[in-house]
Subunit: 404 residues, 2 copies
C-alpha cells in the first residue's frame, strides 16, 4: 500500500497568493461592479519590449523550418545565452564566473524550490523573516523544518532572522549556526536591501561557520544605490559559500515567459563533492531545458536594444515605486523599501493586523495588496504594495488610500 | 556545516544520454570527416507544423502589447489548454476526466522526475526493465532505492520487472508487492506495448494491492493497433490507482518547445488526503507555469489544422519505423517494436554487449543508437534505434548497417 509524503500535510493552509486570489475572486463575485486595482502579487504589467519580441518571432520561424529547427536544448542552457549572462552580469562587474557555472532554467521560482534537494535533509535552514514563502515551504515538503506552531507561525527547526523597522531590516547573525542561509536581496517583501559591506559580512560569516548561502537576486535590476552589490560574487569569498539565483521576470517582464538561471560556482565543494556537478545531475535528470524560443528572448535582453528597453521599463516601475512611497509618506504612513526594489513595505495603521488591513483596503478602496504576515511572523502589522502596476493605477490606488 | 544529499553520490556514472553525447563528441573530434547519422536520443527532427507556428507568432505579438500581455500563468495551466486536453484526449475517448485534474507543465521529463516527491520515502518502486532512466534516477536522488550493485546493475530496493523477448515484453506481476509502479506504454525503449486487456489486469492488480501506477503515455500518438489503450483511464478503475503523464514532445515535435501535462484524478485519495491537492500544492510552490506562448502552441495542437498536421508528422516517423524494422528483419536481425511506437528494439548480433554494439555501429557505420543496457540490466544485449530521423537518413543508416 503506497503512502504519501506526510510533510505536505504539515503545510498550513495554501500558498499565500492562492489565498489572496480566492479572497479577491469572492469579493469580485459579490461586487461585480468594483474597479479593483491589483498591487498584490508581484506580477508585471508592461508588455515584453520590442527587442525580445523580435527575437522570439525569429526563433519561432526557425522552429518552423527543418534547416533551423531546434530539438532538445542542452541541459544547462544554450551557449549563446550562458555566454551573454557571464559577460554582462558577471565579467563586466569584475566577477570571475564562467559559463559552465551558469544553469539556465524556467525561472527563479523553480530553482528556489528545487535547490534544497541537493542538500541533506538534516541541514538546518535560516531565513529572513518576513520572507518569500517558497524557501520555507519547499523545505517543509522535504521534511527539514520540524513542527509548525500555529500560534507563533514558526517552524521548530527553522532559524528566523527578523527584519523589521527596529533593526532597519538588517538581519543579525543567528545565535545558533544554520547550515543553509536564504538571503533575498534586494528583498521581497520588504523592498529593503543590504549594502555591499553588510553583505560581505554575511559572506565572511558563512565561510567561517561552513554554511551555504542561497542568494536570490531576482530584483537586482532595481538597485539604484551605488553601495549595493548587484551579485553576491562582488563579495570576496562568495564563490566558496554562495549559490546565486537570478530571474528575467522582473528586469525584462518575463513572468509569463519563464526564464531564469542559477549560478553554482565550481569552488563550491562539500566533502570532496562538487555542488556544480550535483546540480548538473539534477538538471540532467529532472529537467529538459528552457524552450529555445525563450532562451533566444533571454539573449536579446543582453543586446544593446534590449538593455536600453528594459532599463526604461525598470525606470517606469521605479517611478511608480517613488510615487507610492512618497504619497504614502505624505499621507502619514510609515513606509520602507521602494529605492532598490519595486516593493513598498508599510506599517498598517492603528495596529491593524496585516489581513485586517488587506480586507479593509479591498473593501474600502478596492485595492489589493499583500498581507505582511503572509511572509512570516515578523511581517505581521506590515503590508506590501508593488510598483508593478501601471502608473495611472498606482496614482489612482494612492488617491483611494489617501481618502480612506 | 552544511551537508549534501548523499543519495546523489550513489548514482553510477552520468545520465545515459550525456554518456552517449560524450562518446559521439570524442569520435567526431577524432574523425571530423565522418558523416554521422544520429538515431540515438529520442529527439525529433521535423520542424514544428504551421498551425503551432502561427499560434506562437500570434501569442508573441500578444505579449508585446499591454492590452493583451500575459504575466504569471495560472499555476496549473490556462483553461483554454486544459479544456482542449480534456475534450480531445479524454472525453472523446469516453474517459471522465475533468479540467481540474489536468496539470500543465514544461514537459513529461520534469513531471516524471518530480512526481515521486508527493510519496513517502519508504515506498518501494517497481519498474519495467529496461526502462527510461529518469524513473529510477529520480528515486535514487530521493533515497528510495537502497544500495546499487555494480555487477547486477540493480538497486537493492527496486523491484525490476523484466521485459524481454522471452516474455514478449509483457511484465509479470512482481512476487513482492510494490507501492509505486512505473509503466511507460507504448514503451520506451522497447517500442512494444500492452493490449488494453493486459493493461486492465495491471489496473486491477494495483487497486487490489493498494499500489499507485505512474503511467507515462508520452508515445500515445504512435499507437496504430485498435486493441491498445490511448490512456490508462480507458481501463475500469484507473482513476483510483493511476496518475498519467503526457507529453507534446513526440506527437507535435515539442522537444525544444517544452510542454506536457499530468493527470491526477480527484479519486486518488490516500489516508483521506487528495493526491490532486498535493500535486497542486507542489505546482503552486515550486513551479510557475509553462510559458503563455507555449501553452497557445499546445492549444493549436488540438485545432483541426494542428491535428491534421501532427498526424502527418507522426505518419512520417512511423514510416521510418516501418522501414528500419523491415530492413533490419530482412537483414537477419531479431527486431521488436516499431508498430505502436517510434522505437526499434533489436537483439545485438553475435551476443555482443549493448555498448560493444554501440561502439561497433559508431565506428563501422557512423550510426548512433542507444545501448539497451543503459535502460536497465534486462536491456543488455539489446539496442535501440529511433525513427525520429529523416526518412533519407533512416534509409542511409539502414543501408550502412546491412553492409556491415
Amino acid at each position: 500500500m503506497y503512502k504519501i509524503n506526510t510533510n505536505y500535510q504539515k503545510l498550513p493552509g495554501s500558498y499565500l497568493f492562492s489565498n489572496i486570489a480566492k479572497k479577491v475572486n469572492a469579493f469580485t463575485e459579490a461586487h461585480p461592479e468594483a474597479d479593483i486595482i491589483r498591487l498584490g502579487i508581484g506580477d508585471v504589467t508592461q508588455p515584453i519590449a520590442p527587442a525580445m519580441i523580435e527575437a522570439m518571432h525569429k526563433a519561432v520561424d526557425e522552429m518552423g523550418d527543418a534547416k533551423t529547427f531546434h530539438g532538445y536544448a542542452p541541459d544547462l542552457g544554450y551557449a549563446f545565452l550562458r555566454d551573454a549572462i557571464v559577460a554582462h552580469d558577471y565579467q563586466a562587474r569584475g566577477c570571475d564566473i564562467s559559463a559552465d557555472e551558469i544553469f539556465v532554467s524556467d525561472g527563479a521560482k523553480s530553482d528556489s524550490g528545487n535547490i534544497q534537494e541537493i542538500f541533506s535533509v538534516d541541514n538546518r535552514i535560516a531565513v529572513c523573516d518576513p520572507v518569500y514563502p517558497v524557501y520555507v515551504d519547499s523545505n517543509v515538503m522535504a521534511g527539514r523544518t520540524g513542527v509548525y506552531d500555529a500560534n507563533t507561525q514558526m517552524w521548530s527547526n527553522v532559524i528566523y532572522m527578523p527584519c523589521t523597522a527596529e533593526n532597519n531590516f538588517v538581519p543579525e547573525f543567528p545565535k545558533e549556526n544554520p547550515d543553509i542561509i536564504y538571503l533575498c536581496l534586494p528583498n521581497n517583501p520588504t523592498g529593503t536591501t543590504l549594502t555591499k559591506d553588510q553583505l560581505q559580512e554575511w559572506v565572511d560569516y558563512a565561510n567561517r561557520i561552513g554554511a551555504i548561502i542561497i542568494y536570490d537576486a531576482a530584483y537586482e535590476a532595481y538597485i539604484s544605490e551605488s553601495n549595493v552589490a548587484h551579485t553576491i560574487y562582488e563579495c570576496q569569498g562568495a564563490k566558496t559559500c554562495a549559490i546565486e539565483i537570478r530571474s528575467f521576470s522582473k528586469n525584462a517582464g518575463f513572468t509569463g515567459v519563464r526564464l531564469g538561471f542559477t549560478v553554482v560556482p565550481k569552488d563550491l565543494v562539500c566533502d570532496g563533492v562538487s555542488l556544480n556537478g550535483m546540480w548538473a545531475r539534477r538538471h540532467g535528470t529532472k529537467f529538459n531545458g528552457a524552450p529555445y524560443i525563450i532562451q533566444r528572448a533571454g539573449e536579446a535582453v543582453y543586446s544593446d536594444a534590449g538593455q536600453a528597453q528594459i532599463k526604461e521599463q525598470v525606470g517606469y516601475y521605479m517611478n511608480n515605486a517613488k510615487t507610492i512611497y512618497t504619497g504614502l509618506k505624505d499621507a502619514g504612513y510609515e513606509v520602507y523599501g521602494g529605492i532598490n526594489a519595486p516593493y513598498i513595505w508599510l506599517k498598517t495603521p492603528d495596529h491593524m493586523t496585516s489581513w485586517d488591513f488587506f480586507d479593509f483596503l479591498l473593501e474600502k478602496a478596492n485595492v489589493v495588496g499583500t498581507p505582511g504576515s503572509g511572509f512570516g511572523p515578523s511581517g505581521e502589522g506590515y503590508f506590501r504594495l508593488t510598483a508593478f502596476g501601471s502608473y495611472e493605477n498606482s496614482v489612482r490606488a494612492l488617491e483611494r488610500i489617501k481618502n480612506l
